[in-house]
């Protein structure tokens, strides 16, 4: 039986998503945000980290259109390959809690087609923990493409 490790990220009170264990680089607690005027609602803030400008995604806003920004005091810094430049870049995901490293079995796997439409666009596949469906999100899709769900600023 094949196993793999994944980080579980609590993005709002109800929802957890997963990323590969090598994709998550660092956790920033109580970050200092910089607002960027006229950027999409789900990505309107950046932070400075190690002299890098990190765009910060509010995944609840991206998927459900509901901001839970004020309850989030952690940022998971993930690395991805920019699909246009081929360069490795960093992106931040707002979290409500500290990520948990979890070992996933093959038999927990769920087909991507079983995810709802809103998750399918940003996910590679999914798995189940008890009855909870957890999408494995594509960091690259999230950060290096314009929002699939257009908000009023896009």
């Amino acid at each position: 039986m094949n196993k793999a490790q994944a980080w579980l990220l609590q993005i709002d009170r109800k929802t957890r998503v997963a990323v590969g264990h090598l994709e998550l680089i660092h956790i920033v607690n109580y970050p200092e945000y910089y607002d960027v005027p006229r950027s999409p609602e789900h990505c309107k803030r950046v932070i400075l980290w190690n002299k890098n400008i990190i765009p910060v995604i509010d995944m609840s806003m991206l998927i459900d259109g509901i901001s839970t920004y004020y309850h989030k005091n952690k940022i998971a810094i993930a690395m991805y390959e920019n699909s246009q430049t081929g360069q490795y870049e960093y992106g931040g995901i707002q979290l409500m809690d500290t990520p948990i490293l979890k070992v996933i079995d093959n038999n927990q796997g769920v087909s991507r087609s079983q995810l709802s439409d809103k998750w399918r666009d940003y996910s590679l596949s999914a798995f189940k923990v008890n009855e909870e469906m957890i999408p494995i999100v594509s960091i690259r899709k999230i950060f290096s493409s314009k929002s699939v769900y257009k908000d009023k600023f896009v």
């Binding site: 910089y34 960027v36 005027p37 006229r38 950027s39 999409p40 789900h42 990505c43 309107k44 950046v46 400075l48 002299k51 400008i53 765009p55 995604i57 246009q84 870049e89 992106g91 999230i142 950060f143 290096s144 493409s145 314009k146 929002s147 600023f153 896009v154």
Partner: protein
Amino acid sequence: MMTNVEPKNILCKDRETNLMVITIDNNCYYIPQKDIFSFESVQDLDVEEKLTNSVGRISIVKEKIPVYCFSGDLELLDRPTDNIKICVLLNKINIALLCDDIRVANVINIKIVEMAECMKSNNSPVDSFCLLEGDNSIASLGILIRSLSIKNYINNYKKYNNS
């Protein structure tokens, strides 16, 4: 006309990274020096002659240039705010912008960083950041606007903001 020009030299490699700081409603935006043609007095602003979304026109030589005014978060306003003191004529695009203040950016190192795709918007003049390092080696963030992106933003403003 320039205010608060700071005496230190900027050590930059090219003209793209020679930056000015424009203050609009207490918000600072960085703009390449090469994108600025001149500064004019707001006294010369003719508010009677308006194009769509502009606040008036200013006469430069024999040309009448449309003048625009942004809020602090870069929304186009239909009339000048009270703090406006300077009219900045942007290079090559025949557009002027009102601002509270303009000065040379006083930084040692500037790195221009393109915005991640997920942050970009067709309805914004911002497409890049500047990572700034001053005397104390502490990095800080600036938001960069360029004359061409300002022109595109103004031209498309009605299309994306027809509320």
